[in-house]
């Protein structure tokens, strides 16, 4: 197994926002191995979202280094770039390109997207006429088509009604159990325990524990 992504003494500082301790993250070291599902747990404000933004290359660290073996690292975002005045089809196109696909790929996947989102002919209506559930389903269906080498997931992505939530959860689990390399940030301890190969516990901007899910979760619960 090789590391697709490795953090070396990474620090991140939002100096203007916090005066007491300006470091959001400090001295963070870990690796993401090819094919694994890595879980990240921690209380609110522990720096989990900042960690994801650093991993996906949106921002650069203020200290340390991040080594990437691939550029294809995507933070899964639902309804990314959605505009109410555009049709479902047009929004799917823009969202798909934002999520790393080419126009031709989105076009080819359009039938699958419409079917997964259960939208039928309404795909050609403006999204402002959609219910929140319909928007969520379309967003999820598009996001499913993204095929990054490393998939970053922030919290359980639950959209739509009960039936669709089950369907989307099922889809996600299958993705995680496949060869997909993934990093999952979640408060859902059960999901972390069953789906992750390794878990990182983030506290006060640093890694407090790292290892097998059952060990880390046990420390975390105390």
């Amino acid at each position: 197994m090789s590391a697709l992504l490795s953090f070396e003494n990474v620090g991140l500082r939002y100096s203007r926002d916090r005066r007491d301790n300006p470091w959001t993250l400090q001295g963070v070291n870990f690796e993401v191995m090819k094919g694994e599902t890595l879980g990240v747990i921690g209380r609110n404000g522990a720096g989990k979202s900042s960690l994801l933004r650093l991993m996906s290359g949106l921002i650069a660290p203020d200290a340390g280094r991040i080594h990437r073996q691939t550029d294809s690292i995507l933070l899964l975002s639902i309804q990314l770039g959605f505009q109410p005045h555009l049709t479902g089809r047009e929004n799917a196109m823009i969202s798909g390109i934002l999520l790393g696909m080419h126009r031709a790929e989105v076009k080819a996947a359009m039938d699958d997207i419409v079917e997964f989102a259960e939208l039928g002919e309404q795909i050609d209506d403006p999204v402002r006429t959609y219910s929140a559930g319909m928007r969520g389903r379309l967003g999820f269906a598009v996001a499913c088509q993204a095929r990054p080498e490393v998939l970053l997931i922030d919290e359980a992505l639950s959209v739509g009604d009960r039936e669709f939530r089950a369907k989307s959860r099922q889809y996600m689990l299958e993705r995680l159990q496949s060869e997909q390399t993934a990093v999952v940030v979640s408060h859902d301890e059960k999901l972390i325990a069953t789906e992750c190969n390794r878990v990182i516990w983030l506290a006060n901007g640093g890694i407090k524990a790292c290892g097998a899910p059952e060990d880390v979760l046990e420390q975390y619960r105390r």
Partner: protein
């Protein structure tokens, strides 16, 4: 910055989306792209020709030529200041080369302007300035002004998110430039040495070039066009450098 083919596709789709929103948001839709400059023109016509009687023969053509090409520059540059802010939500979730964001604004405005340009050419033809061989130089002038519009837009788009206070300066600067670009008066009637100073303004040069070409059917001096082109390239180079330099910093700016 990491460029991909899909980024060009994104610029195209986002620019179309902006245009579609414009036309969706008002009852008259796309008609506003033409009505807006037309009302603008009428205002100036009323003030200078009717009230102040400062016009003269050919004033309406003189004024309209100035306004049409000024509006392209003015509206694109002002909108570009907000390019990055507009996509703040997106760039905090996925990586995009920030250079793309002003390109979306520039592309959308170019599409709008093309429509105005076609109507303007029609107006010229029907009102005594029919197409001649000098019109062959139109693509050249369009290219030169495009480089200037693009350059200024990149620079403004790069700087305003970093130093939002400068937006006031941009607004005053654009107003000052508007009055000094010879839109409603002939810069050549200004005495030296002031005239030469005013012609340091690339838009003053550009508007004078358009009038030479469209109203006098003569090819404007190439050296002047070269000056505008160089000006645009320098602005664009600085803008692109800044956008690249702060590529990973923009997502960290809140607001």
């Amino acid at each position: 910055m990491r460029f991909r083919k899909r980024h060009a596709e994104l610029v195209y789709h986002c620019a179309l989306s902006d245009l579609k929103r414009d036309s969706d948001q008002a009852y008259l839709g796309m008609l506003w792209w033409v009505l807006d400059p037309l009302i603008y023109l009428c205002t100036f016509y009323l003030i200078f020709e009717v009230i102040m009687q400062r016009g003269g023969p050919g004033f309406i053509h003189f004024l309209l030529t100035g306004l049409v090409f000024w509006r392209w520059f003015d509206s694109t540059v002002r909108l570009s200041a907000f390019s990055i802010k507009k996509y703040q939500g997106i760039i905090s979730q996925v990586y995009l080369p920030k250079l793309l964001l002003p390109l979306i604004t520039v592309t959308g405005n170019l599409m709008k302007f093309s429509l105005v340009l076609v109507l303007f050419a029609l107006f010229l033809t029907l009102s005594g300035h029919p197409p001649g061989s000098s019109w062959l130089a139109i693509p050249l002038l369009l290219l030169v002004q495009f480089v200037l519009v693009l350059g200024a837009s990149l620079l403004v788009a790069a700087i305003i998110p970093l130093i939002p206070d400068l937006m006031q300066l941009v607004n005053y600067g654009m107003t000052l430039m508007f009055f000094m670009s010879g839109i409603f008066f002939d810069l050549n009637s200004v005495d030296e040495p002031l005239r030469s100073v005013l012609y340091f303004n690339p838009m003053a040069v550009m508007l004078s070039a358009w009038r030479d070409l469209l109203l006098e059917a003569s090819i404007p001096p190439l050296a002047q066009l070269g000056y505008v082109l160089a000006f645009g390239l320098v602005l664009g180079a600085v803008g692109a450098w800044l956008l690249n330099r702060f590529d990973l910093h923009y997502p960290r700016l809140v607001n």
